[in-house]
């Protein structure tokens, strides 16, 4: 009886194409990635069929969460540092070099000017935990208006975007829009999620 020879196959396979593909993907993601910034609050934006994209730079983001708290954020480290200096001068609060640095790395915040110093003094992990009360928007202490005005003076190219939670109540949104209009901002963006445009009209 002839011996049945089991053909031994080499179990190691050639991984070169796989490695090629993987590194191609790594390169792609590295080049397209913009790290997700740490938001002070997470909001669930409503969806719309609009297809306009928000610009990458020079954007003021006014976030309104479902507790009617208002958060302010602007991009650009230089803009933020210059902005903080102006606001510090206006409100008579002094900031150290370290606090300015921290502020320039903050993506958004929601505290009154009087509490900003203590917020900046916190560790970044503690800052995530703390419950920020929101920026005052009432007419007696309209800090949001000052932030917007000073940002527009610092960087005249900024576009204003409102990022509201689905459940944010209308009076707060109305108040924010009124503040913008008081500062002669009549054109702004509402950040929304994507939604398929209906075809049958």
């Amino acid at each position: 009886m002839p011996k049945v020879k089991v053909k031994r196959k080499n179990p190691s396979l050639d991984m070169t194409p796989m490695v090629d593909l993987f590194f191609l993907l790594v390169t792609f993601f590295m080049l397209t990635a913009t790290a997700r910034p740490d938001e002070a609050v997470i909001v669930d934006t409503p969806s719309s069929a609009s297809e306009i994209k928000i610009p990458d730079t020079n954007v003021i983001t006014i976030t309104i969460d479902n507790d009617s708290r208002v958060f302010f954020g602007v991009d650009g480290q230089q803009t933020k540092e210059a902005l903080l200096d102006k606001m510090a001068g206006k409100y008579g609060v002094g900031f150290t070099e370290e606090e300015r640095k921290t502020f320039s790395l903050l993506s958004n915040f929601g505290v009154p000017m009087s509490q900003l110093k203590s917020l900046l003094a916190m560790e970044s992990s503690a800052r995530k935990e703390v419950n920020q009360p929101g920026i005052p928007i009432d007419s007696a202490r309209n800090e949001l208006g000052d932030w917007i005005l000073q940002t527009r003076l610092t960087n005249p190219k900024v576009v204003i975007a409102i990022k509201g939670d689905q459940d944010a109540d209308y009076p707060t949104v109305k108040r924010v829009i009124d503040i913008l209009q008081d500062r002669k901002v009549n054109r702004f963006n509402l950040i929304t999620d994507m939604e398929a445009k209906p075809t049958n009209l």
Binding site: F22, P46, S48, K53, I54, N189, L190
Partner: protein, 173 residues
């Protein structure tokens, strides 16, 4: 030629072969690392940028009296109520028009906005009046509907007491 001879010579006396190490290297750790990096970048990337909806608010008039009053036949009012309710009426609040309840669904307010009464009238102005109880989502939804239906003339207007009264009387809450 000389090479061949040399080879023949060395062939006779004792095999002197250079040890051939395999050209294949184990790529598994490399693949592991690449996969790890892919996972990391995929999770940290904000892939799609958020959409935005551009709105232009009317410039606040310096002089209220210089404004021209809207004709009743060219006016439509949409009232956004609490609990995702939506009402609309044609004409002016003073004439006590019929307030109709509608919905945000495709067959609701969109049908009204695409109806001949609105579409065939170039001067038709839609006024959106959100009540205090309405949500931000309602506002975005109605702006979206206006955009989808390609309604050119619309404005966000503050709700008046007469509108509230109309809704209260005819809808009952």
């Amino acid at each position: 030629m000389a090479e061949i001879q040399e080879k023949a010579d060395s062939g006779k006396g004792g095999k002197k072969r250079a040890k051939r190490s395999s050209t294949k290297i184990d790529m598994t750790p490399l693949v592991d690392l690449a996969a790890l990096l892919i996972t990391f970048f995929m999770l940290t990337t904000t892939f799609n940028k958020p959409q935005t909806m551009e709105i232009n608010m009317p410039v606040k008039p310096d002089n209220e009296e210089e404004q021209i009053a809207l004709k009743a036949s060219n006016a439509m009012t949409i009232i956004l109520g609490a609990d995702d309710k939506i009402y609309y009426y044609f004409g002016l609040a003073e004439d006590n028009p019929e307030v109709i309840e509608s919905s945000y669904a495709a067959g609701g307010i969109r049908k009204v906005l695409t109806s001949p009464q609105v579409k065939s009238n170039d001067k038709m102005t839609v006024m959106v009046k959100p009540m205090e109880g309405s949500r931000y989502k309602n506002m975005v939804d109605i702006l979206d509907e206006l955009k989808i239906t390609d309604t050119k003339k619309f404005a966000m207007v503050e709700i008046a007491d007469s509108d509230k009264k109309l809704v209260q009387e005819q809808i009952g809450n």
